[in-house]
């Protein structure tokens, strides 16, 4: 199994307004982040702190890489394919035979709790169901690291909580490493074995802490009780303070 390692990465975008001079915006400044196999790292930060740029780098959209599969906020499914064929898509690219990929896709859909929906059209599914298809599709690629770009951002609160629990179950059974980008501090804290805080202008890591709430959930503690525990709330407030630390200085 490989590890996912970014070392001293800086990223700038060049852009030009009208016929004006070319200006560059630095979105990431000397960021180093390494994920051990099987680790669940959640990245939080204000808008513009370079969270998605970090994920794009990790995914290899900027420079090629292997062993990573991405789940997108807008689900990025293919509406001309059924749920099953969407999940089978990475297998098809890998040259897996038709019967085998159909069987494996059905099994993955079962893992994310979609059985009746196997042969449904994508556009007949709800937002939460679509994200489950996206997760199953990413798992089909047997990635070493699953990269999640705010996959739960567009879901309602109830669905979101159920999906968080599903993500932890999937993480446990698949053993894959996870890099999750999220806006929700509570989500990062509940899911991540490690939470990384990015600050903007330019994007840099300002905090990097380890937590064990996800492991405690998987060991049987109820999710709601965990999220209401004093140590959870204290950790949440500390992370929120870290997110806004530089803001207080400039304000």
């Amino acid at each position: 199994m490989t590890e996912l390692r970014l070392t001293n990465v800086s990223l700038s975008y060049a852009h030009r307004q009208g016929f004006g001079a070319l200006t560059t915006t630095r979105v990431l400044q000397r960021v180093s982040l390494a994920l051990a196999p099987g680790e669940f790292v959640a990245v939080i930060g204000r808008s513009g702190s370079g969270k998605t740029s970090l994920l794009n780098l990790a995914a290899g959209f900027v420079a090629p890489s292997e062993g990573r599969a991405v789940v997108f906020q807008d689900d990025a499914l293919y509406p001309w394919l059924s749920a099953r064929d969407n999940v089978a898509f990475p297998l098809r690219l890998a040259g897996v035979g038709r019967d085998e990929r159909r069987a494996r896709a059905a099994e993955l859909l079962r893992q994310v709790g979609l059985v009746a929906e196997t042969d449904r059209a994508i556009w007949e599914l709800s937002g939460g169901q679509r994200q489950r298809v996206g997760i199953a599709r990413a798992l089909a690629a047997k990635p070493d690291f699953l990269l999640l770009d705010e996959p739960l951002g567009a879901l309602d609160a109830m669905t979101r909580e159920r999906m968080q629990e599903l993500l932890l179950a999937v993480w446990q059974t698949s053993g894959t490493g996870v890099l999750l980008i999220t806006h929700s501090v509570e989500e990062a804290l509940f899911l991540g074995t490690r939470v990384v805080v990015l600050a903007p202008d330019p994007g840099r890591i300002v905090a990097d802490r380890h937590f064990d709430f996800s492991r405690r959930y998987l060991a049987g503690e109820p999710a709601r009780a965990l999220k209401a525990a004093p140590e959870f709330i204290a950790a949440r407030e500390a992370l929120i303070a870290a997110i806004h630390a530089d803001e207080a200085m400039t304000a």
Binding site: A59, L77, P79, W80, P90, R92, L93
Partner: protein
């Protein structure tokens, strides 16, 4: 109601206002057609218009019978229609084979766009009658030239709609495929081309319209069969009833294929609009 009177039970409700008569689109269409037919009937029955300009509907109907049976200028109506259909669909097949790859190249490669986009924009506004003489000089008066004249009118709409369709694949749909190891060709075949299909179908519908409207120009080129040829021959001798039949047949054929394509869209690209 006088004062002191007690109202028991359900309070009186104003009678529902009579629903305004709503015309369904189909009824409106049928009424329009019937109105135009009546106007035509009146114009030729009462002699408002000379029969040379506008023959009586009955005469046009009789012309249909004559065309189906004996034919006109060496061909029955079916033979003329078959010749024209053959040309329009040869041209369509040719344009799809050329314009879909052109559209893919425009949408996926900056160099492809640099080379092909100006060419597509160059031929797009040209009236067929303008390039007809050149086609004859370059390619002669054979069947190929007729097909080419029609195809030139069909290329641009298909190429442009293909390019637009390819761009309708979202960045994350493309990135997802890339993260699963798809190269440029696989992304094109498995993501961009399928997502372009609804748009390509729309392009084909527009192209067929352009193709039918180019038919008469194409059949100016030494044709001996075809609806356009039939119309022109009849026009030279002021046989207006044949001209009118020709117009109706072209219109009916175009309408039938438009309906067929819409059906294909409904059956096979139900996901369209559900991105």
């Amino acid at each position: 109601m006088s004062a002191g009177e007690e109202v028991i039970g359900v309070a009186p409700v104003a009678a529902p206002a009579p629903r305004p008569v709503r015309l369904s689109p189909l009824v409106a269409t049928l009424l329009t057609a019937a109105g135009l037919l009546a106007l035509w009937l009146a114009a030729s029955s009462f002699g408002w218009v000379s029969p040379v300009f506008l023959p009586h509907p009955a005469k046009v109907l009789a012309a249909v019978g004559r065309l189906v049976g004996a034919g006109y200028v060496d061909g029955t109506l079916f033979e003329h229609a078959a010749a024209s259909l053959g040309r329009v669909f040869s041209a369509l097949a040719f344009s799809i084979l050329v314009a879909v790859p052109v559209g893919l190249a425009i949408a996926t490669s900056p160099v492809g766009r640099g080379i092909l986009d100006p060419l597509v924009e160059f031929i797009r506004p040209l009236p067929p009658l303008a390039y007809l003489p050149l086609i004859i000089i370059w390619f002669g008066i054979g069947e190929g030239s007729k097909v080419l004249v029609i195809a030139l009118a069909m290329l641009a709409p298909i190429a442009i709609s293909t390019a637009a369709g390819v761009r309708s694949a979202s960045e994350s749909q493309v990135n997802a495929a890339r993260s699963f190891g798809a190269g440029r060709l696989a992304v094109l075949l498995h993501v961009q081309l399928p997502s372009a299909i609804p748009s390509i179908l729309t392009g084909i519908r527009i192209a067929l319209g352009a193709g039918w409207s180019t038919l008469v120009a194409a059949e100016l080129v030494a044709a001996s069969r075809g609806l356009g040829f039939m119309i022109q021959s009849a026009a030279q001798f002021l046989v207006t009833d044949i001209v009118i039949v020709g117009i109706f047949v072209i219109s009916a054929l175009a309408f039938a294929f438009e309906a067929l394509l819409r059906l294909v869209e409904r059956l096979f690209v139900r996901w369209s609009g559900h991105h």
